[in-house]
């Protein structure tokens, strides 16, 4: 919504500057988004009177105009068709600066020297009219006057950012009313000078509402004998301020009155009616209609159609029809002013995808009792500007008039909700200034004007009082409101803890979009993915079923930017749909790619590998006092033989592996990516165990090492478990401290060096006891794995 500063001054007197006005309106909730000059500045243009017009001898399109600009008489060359003696027109003399910065000079046109020129509206930046010289009102114009000052062009467009609950502010009068509330005075409504004649409108047309739900009120007037022509400059200026294009006097008047009053109007070419009727009905099944933008559209079932009883004329409240549009040859118009059901308009507007100025007002709720004033005001202007004859009376069908809503507001309640101490008379003043009908008392009785559909309850009145009384005046109360016992969501604390552990392991947390590209998902994920009905694009059209794709995208992004080490994790929700049931779960994922984190000058560069990732997860589990186990298991996102299940005891927690190269390639990742995916809810449940103190060992430990040569397929973990079995009571810890392949070990074998700590809880072990246990362990390795002791 936009109007100009001086336009508002027509309805209410104020002397704030545009900036000050904007600030004050913003602080009562009528936010001004932007202030811009109404017109671009020009200078050196003054009013001249054309005294004489001669044809140019060579070029018959050009004329030589003798003008008087108040300082003298001169001859300028002009190409416009509308010059004639007696015309007052803008004259840009040499030295004038026009919009766009062009400086006017004496020029020679078709062999004739022209000291400046007469201007069109387009040349002055006042409208798009470029074919004709601007014509000034001969009654008011005086030769030699500065045009900028004559037209009073110092004005500003105020662009408002309105909230959807305030349809009344979608009008100049409504905005003026807000200013009135600030000042404490009421607006001046424009005076109505309507001269009717030429018979009763009711004899020329009937109005019938068959769909009173969709259209509770329909009023029409007929204006006959009109002449379609361009609007005068003052009207064009209003439309320009409102951000609308000028078309012709009739359409411009309808638009102007809509902006002034907030009531959308529509003018039909009455001659196009096949019958002298208006019949308002709901659309019929499968009905099609051509709107005035020349689009044939299928009408939604609950569209309100304006018809003449035979053919449809308009989609009520949204857009007129092509066939009944006002054109250059229109002589009689039927002017419509109606009230439509906001919900119906909104649904139809959405289904048609048509957002007209009219629809935007109707769907928020115009004033059902403002219909008549707007109709009369527009008809009067049509008589004035188009020479029309307004037939007697409006044909107004309004079967169930809307009465102002009556509410009560308790001053005590106002002060309680806002936390202030306002006196009741102050509340009454505020409401009166907003044009509410008010009767004081212990509770204030309020009649809500029908242009305020947003006010339906006491609380709405409390807001009105609060906003005009100024939010800034409400105290800042910092009371210690008594602590409410709080229990922070445990998952949240756990999440923080896990994040801190992973950060300590060198990982960066990432936050990725939950919306992903279905074309990149694995088949398993695609089957689970929740689809959006109205996505922004195909790339963002499903909810992620796992964190895999999101993190691969982050890996790709960083690889493309030469980030050498990519070590990331995310904890977030994933969404899975199984048999129509949507489940949201918390998931965690870790991904490693690129170079391992090492001290490069010392050890050189190496790529991340399985053991880096396993180490991170083991550390995390250790912090939770959990012992992580892995076992081979196939997962679709991982490469064969590098795909493992993660578990703690009997509980599967997730998976770990090397991202399958073909999946990585879908994200343009061509290097190995190691990833782990965890069910975060399960991890949280598993991680609840609290520590239990165990006495510290009182007796010394003894260490023994051995190195065995075994087949390369033997798993180190199995060796460790086997050693432990040799003397469960005495063995405290078993570590693998070296794994070696290569000469002199046979090609299909490896050497594994194991260190074993022996300790008893209740005594110091003797050498003999330790040696005995150790040789048992070695023996067991020989038997179970065909191990050979390496000396």
């Amino acid at each position: 919504m936009q109007v100009s500063y001086k336009w508002l001054q027509e309805y209410i007197a104020f002397d704030w500057s545009p900036d000050e006005l904007a600030r004050r309106l913003t602080m009562i909730g009528t936010a001004v988004e932007r202030i811009t000059p109404l017109y671009e500045k020009f200078s050196g243009v003054r009013i001249a009177r054309i005294e004489k017009v001669d044809r140019h001898s060579g070029q018959d399109r050009l004329s030589l105009c003798t003008i008087n600009d108040g300082t003298g008489v001169r001859v300028v060359v002009c190409g416009a068709p509308n010059v004639h003696p007696g015309l007052y027109a803008p004259y840009a003399m040499p030295g004038a600066v026009l919009p766009g910065g062009m400086e006017v000079k004496t020029a020679t046109i078709a062999g004739v020297s022209s000291p400046g020129f007469l201007c069109s509206e387009a040349e002055l930046g006042l409208s798009e009219e470029s074919d004709r010289i601007m014509e000034l009102d001969p009654e008011a114009a005086e030769t030699g006057m500065d045009l900028w000052e004559f037209l009073d062009l110092d004005d500003w467009i105020m662009q408002f950012e309105l909230t959807p609950n305030r349809p009344d502010c979608m009008s100049a009068l409504g905005l003026a009313r807000e200013i009135g509330a600030l000042i404490g005075t009421k607006v001046r409504r424009p005076e109505l000078e309507l001269h009717e004649g030429g018979g009763a409108a009711a004899e020329r047309v009937t109005v019938q509402i068959d769909d009173p739900d969709g259209c509770p009120r329909y009023a029409a007037r007929i204006v006959d004998n009109i002449e379609i022509k361009p609007s005068p400059f003052w009207l064009k200026r209003r439309l320009h301020a409102a951000g609308m294009r000028s078309l012709n006097n009739i359409v411009d008047i309808a638009n102007y009155i809509m902006i002034e009053t907030g009531q959308p109007l529509h003018a039909f070419d009455f001659a196009t009616f096949s019958r002298p009727n208006i019949v308002v009905r709901a659309a019929t099944a499968g009905e099609e209609f051509t709107t005035l933008d020349n689009e044939r559209r299928a009408m939604p079932a609950d569209a309100v159609m304006i018809t003449d009883g035979a053919a449809a004329l308009a989609v009520g409240g949204i857009m007129g029809g092509l066939a009944s549009e006002v054109s250059a040859v229109t002589r009689a118009v039927l002017l419509e002013s109606a009230y439509f059901n906001p919900s119906r308009i909104r649904r139809t507007r959405k289904q048609l995808g048509l957002a007209s100025e009219a629809a935007l007002r109707f769907e928020k709720g115009v004033d059902p009792n403002g219909v008549g004033f707007a109709l009369d005001r527009a008809a009067a202007l049509m008589a004035e500007l188009a020479g029309g004859q307004v037939l007697q009376g409006a044909v107004d069908v309004y079967p169930a008039p809307v009465a102002p809503l009556r509410l009560e507001v308790r001053p005590v309640r106002v002060n309680k909700i806002i936390g202030v101490d306002l006196a009741s008379p102050r509340m009454i003043d505020i409401l009166s200034a907003l044009e509410f009908g008010v009767t004081g008392g212990k509770t204030i009785a309020v009649a809500v004007p029908t242009f305020r559909p947003d006010i339906t309850r006491e609380i709405d009145l409390i807001e009105e009082i609060a906003r005009i009384a100024d939010y800034g005046a409400i105290p800042v109360r910092r009371k210690a409101a008594g602590r409410i016992p709080t229990a922070v969501n445990p998952l949240n604390q756990f999440e923080t803890r896990i994040k801190e552990i992973l950060v300590g392991e060198g990982l960066f947390e990432v936050v990725t979009n939950s919306l992903v590209d279905p074309r990149r998902l694995t088949p398993g994920e695609a089957g689970l993915a929740v689809k959006l009905k109205n996505p922004l694009s195909e790339e963002l059209s499903v909810m992620r079923a796992s964190l895999c794709g999101s993190l691969l995208q982050v890996v790709a992004h960083n690889l493309n930017r030469q980030v050498p080490t990519i070590a990331i994790f995310e904890i977030g929700r994933v969404f899975q749909q199984v048999d129509g049931v949507i489940r949201e779960r918390h998931a965690a994922a870790v991904m490693l790619a690129g170079n391992a984190f090492v001290t490069r000058w010392e050890t050189g560069v190496r790529a991340v590998d399985f053991y880096d990732l396993k180490g991170i997860l083991v550390t995390m589990c250790r912090a939770l006092r959990l012992e992580l186990e892995l076992c081979a298991a196939p997962y679709e996102m991982f490469a064969d033989r590098a795909s493992f299940e993660l578990r703690v005891g009997e509980t599967p927690l997730g998976s770990l592996g090397l991202i399958a190269p073909e999946l990585a390639r879908r994200y343009d990742v061509k290097i190995p990516v190691w990833a782990a995916f965890l069910d975060f809810d399960k991890l949280e449940r598993a991680g609840r165990a609290t520590a239990v103190y165990r006495p510290l060992p009182r007796f010394p430990k003894a260490e023994r090492d051995c190195a065995v040569i075994v087949s390369r397929s033997v798993k180190g973990g199995d060796l460790v478990e086997t050693v432990k079995r040799a003397a469960p009571e005495l063995i405290e810890q078993v570590d693998i401290f070296d794994v070696y392949t290569g000469k002199p070990i046979a090609a299909d074998k490896k050497s594994v060096a194991i260190s074993v700590s022996y300790r008893a809880e209740d005594r110091t072990l003797t050498d003999a006891q330790v040696n005995d246990a150790h040789s048992k362990a070695v023996e067991l390795l020989k038997n179970c794995f065909n191990a050979e002791l390496r000396e």
Partner: protein
């Protein structure tokens, strides 16, 4: 019979000598004198045969132990001297140290944690709800009637089967009110979604923190108290707030809250578009319709709610000029926080 050697005395003598050894030459001398084939201890061991059988074993063990001890002390001394030399000659303090890798929390997590901490200090606890919501919780119960233009304020993603992606974390209000009786004071951070084109200023997903408090006698003045307290802690004591009337269906009266520009302090600059103020959040008194939807009596219970975008706060706090940076996760960006 030879004399019984006094091994303890010899060991002490050797240890003292080793203490005095300051260079390789002195160490070499020590080694040949005590540990070499012709060293004192070797001589003792070789002389065992001359001892009485009962002494042989005792002296032998003692001499061997002494030898091991001296060898260890020698190794340690040698190592120390070598390192001293290496330090003097080769140490390059400009080479990178061996560091433990350190990652980082996402800047949005850091900002969320800070917000949660500040409100926790004011008695707010944390709650959350589903991201895939029903129309009822996201709109209807929050007093957005069906077909109401207010729904256009939040462009919504719809999901198969009559669900939608929550457009704010305000549905948590309803979910908590349904389960609890006042007083309740909750903070609900979480992901929200809007069907908006992606550019430097907007993204289809963002993180919102909704806060709300319902109890007897809560007023707009209390709302101001909590938000001013928050701003002072989050942005600094010099931060000023401005409360402007606005409209949200689930609050009445409603307010938009601006903060004095962080760059110019309110004088007017490019960041605040010369207005001196930056919009940071929306708030208001919880609408009686919301209380009715959860069977609270609005005559007895009043409350306030506020909602703010974490990305927006992070962008202001760290002067980040493109919201997409949060979700691209360029590690060079993440490492800055």
């Amino acid at each position: 019979m030879a004399d019984v050697p006094d091994i303890d005395r010899l060991t002490a003598q050797a240890a003292a000598e080793l203490e005095r050894a300051e260079d390789q030459q002195a160490l070499d001398g020590f080694k040949s004198r005590w540990l070499g084939r012709k060293g004192e201890l070797s001589l003792i061991l070789r002389g065992l045969k001359d001892l009485a059988p009962e002494q042989r074993r005792e002296i032998g063990v003692a001499a061997n132990q002494a030898r091991e001890k001296l060898q260890a002390a020698y190794d340690q001394r040698k190592g120390a001297l070598e390192q001293n030399k290496a330090v003097a000659v080769d140490l390059d303090y400009t080479l990178p140290g061996r560091t433990v890798p350190r990652g980082g929390l996402h800047v949005l997590t850091q900002v969320t944690d800070e917000i949660v901490r500040i409100f926790y200090g004011m008695g707010f606890e944390v709650a959350d709800g589903p991201e895939i919501e029903t129309d009822y919780y996201n709109f209807t119960a929050l007093n957005f009637p069906p077909d109401h233009p207010a729904r256009d304020m939040q462009d919504t993603f719809f999901v198969e089967g009559d669900y939608l992606l929550r457009t704010h974390t305000s549905p948590v209000q309803i979910r908590v009110f349904e389960k609890r009786r006042p007083p309740v004071r909750i903070l609900a951070p979480g992901r929200s979604y809007r069907n908006e084109a992606i550019n430097a200023r907007s993204y289809c997903m963002f993180h919102q923190v909704e806060g709300f408090y319902a109890a007897a006698d809560v007023s707009f003045a209390d709302l101001k108290g909590v938000l001013v307290g928050f701003a002072e802690q989050f942005f600094g004591a010099e931060a000023k707030l401005r409360f402007r009337p606005s409209f949200f269906p689930f609050t009445e009266p409603s307010t938009e809250v601006d903060i004095s520009c962080l760059l110019c302090g309110g004088k007017g600059c490019r960041l605040c578009k010369y207005e001196g103020w930056l919009e940071i959040l929306g708030a208001g008194m919880i609408d009686p319709e919301v209380f009715r939807a959860v069977n609270y009596d609005p005559e007895r219970i009043s409350g306030f709610a506020f909602g703010m975008g974490i990305e927006r706060l992070a962008m202001m706090k760290y002067r980040i000029d493109d919201i997409r940076l949060f979700f691209e996760n360029d590690l060079r960006f993440l490492a800055q926080f």
